[in-house]
Amino acid sequence: MERQIHIEPVTRIEGHGKITVFLDAKGDVRDAQFHVTELRGFEQFCVGRTLWEMPGLTARICGICPVSHILASAKACDAILAVQIPPAATLLRRLMNAGQLVQSHALSYFYLSAPDFLLGWDSDPATRNVIGLVAADPVLARKGIRLRAFGQEIIDRLGGKRIHPGWAVPGGVNQALPETDRAWMLERLPEALATTQEALALFKSTFGDVEDRDVLTDFPSMYMGLVRPDGAWEHYAGVLRIVDSKGKVVEPGYDPARYYEIIQEASEPWTYLKFPHYVPKGYPKGMYRVGPLGRVNACDHFATPLAQAELEEFRERSGGRSGRVFDYHYARLIEILASVEEIGELLADDRITSTEIRAQAGINVREGVGVHEAPRGTLIHHYWVDGNGVIEKLNLIVSTGHNNLAMNRAVREIAKTYIKKGKVSEGMLNRIEGGIRAYDPCLSCSVHAVGKMPLAVEIVDAQGDVVTTLARDDR
């Protein structure tokens, strides 16, 4: 008799989801599905609004990633204005995105995920959270809090507030960087760098062996991220690169404005989250991964020295590109390091305090695409407008969506390890949650929905009856 296992709700991620594990007649895993169960419909209700409103409107998709949406939206609007934004505006937008990478990655690593692997996968769920981490290592926990606060403060000082700053606008930004704020950022930079290096050292000393990092499964896929023309890791501009599981270049540098020629979305009736895939390989074979691991695997090198040294060590420890889900955490720390280094470089550029920060123009093109790297992966905003700049149509492909096929694959692989002949091994729920959490999915963004993200697992038999439900709501 076939059975299904449902996991609901999934905890410590952003949004609301559920997992169903389907068992065959022998009780082994036949399939698994990660359902995203909320919908909000930004692509519908933004139609009819003006271009000038779009950064502010789409920022409301999420309270965690508003900066990402503001920047992608502003870039799409720049394209419609057909302007080149001033150098200072580019530097400032890069600075805000680097701050966003720091704060979001620190939240994911220190607050949401580190308790799993630093306290132990099978430790008591009641204390396997950031509170337990505070109790076990208050110094590290406090440093993590301050690291995140550093990224948040950069956003606050640039945009006037930490969440939903209406700062990036079509043509540039609306507020320059005062010298006092530049000085504050420079003063805090060494501490952020030291904390990141300490976290990396601890991670490597704890999980240096490949076997330690196999805990959340390992499978091949393609990887996608923006890179600079020379193949360097990039987060704001550049071209789309896709590599295969061995690092062989599949798409060397695709124009982001023509993303739709290589990326399309499929739909399934059991989830609101679509399935972007690489067009030449079709659906579902065209699975690729984005986000920290996607970017670190897709690039040739980092442009900053400390991150480059870590990349070399990462590839040496991994035997090349890594397909380990757990290595999202490793890559995330390397990206914090790269972001902190870049913040230092940006602040050292005197053009960054220029007050020439916005290009003025009207509607010059009827269609525009804005692409950049959000913490969770490549973010695409694509707008069509009429001659007055009123939105006629839009398409948003959000970071978490790119990873949808891979998250489902991870859940299936982990479930296969822990469910044999109908018996569910202790620790399955923790590992499946950890497997999803490693991607740091933002389901609020992915379906442009809001809500909590507890997890539930349901086991369903061949007749479609739910025979087991595992649930936890410890968020």
Binding site: N129, I131, V134, A135, P138, R142, I145, A149, I163, D474
Partner: protein, 145 residues
């Protein structure tokens, strides 16, 4: 350092009164201010560095301005989107090894609807609320009211 935190959403009418009061405070040496929608775990570091903390927040159930002493208490669980002051102090104690002396200034509020305007009664009460914050800053051991 004394820390004054304005709590509330300025797009939700009177809910934003705490934020407005704190934004209006004149800069003073030895005093830091912050404005947040809700109290979250992120504040533990700033609270942990403070000698004293005052949370200024709108309260629908209050009819008069009220200053209350608060202490670390219970509920050190989860990292949801909002903590009570007592829970934030408990978090701070766990993360920083100490929690500062802390008070809540409860400002009577009537409307939490969408909007940027304060209710007329809340507007009339603003000077007294702002003075209460200044009094707290001057008094090292304010008593509950």
């Amino acid at each position: 350092m004394d820390l004054v935190v304005g709590v509330g959403n300025e797009l939700r009418s009177d809910d934003g009164v705490g934020a407005r009061i704190v934004r209006a405070l004149p800069a003073q040496p030895g005093v830091e201010t912050d404005v947040v929608h809700q109290l979250t775990f992120d504040l533990t570091d700033a609270v942990g560095r403070a000698r004293r903390v005052l949370f200024v927040d709108a309260h629908a159930e209050e009819t008069h301005l009220r200053l209350s002493r608060v202490s670390p208490h219970g509920a050190v669980q989860g990292i949801g989107h909002a903590l009570a002051p007592e829970a934030l102090l408990a978090w701070t104690s766990a993360a920083c090894g100490r929690a500062p002396d802390a008070w809540v200034l409860s400002v009577p509020a009537q409307s939490f609807d969408i909007g940027e305007e304060l209710s007329p009664d809340v507007v009339r009460g603003l000077p007294a609320a702002e003075q209460a914050v200044l009094d707290w800053l001057r008094d090292p051991e304010p008593s509950d009211e």
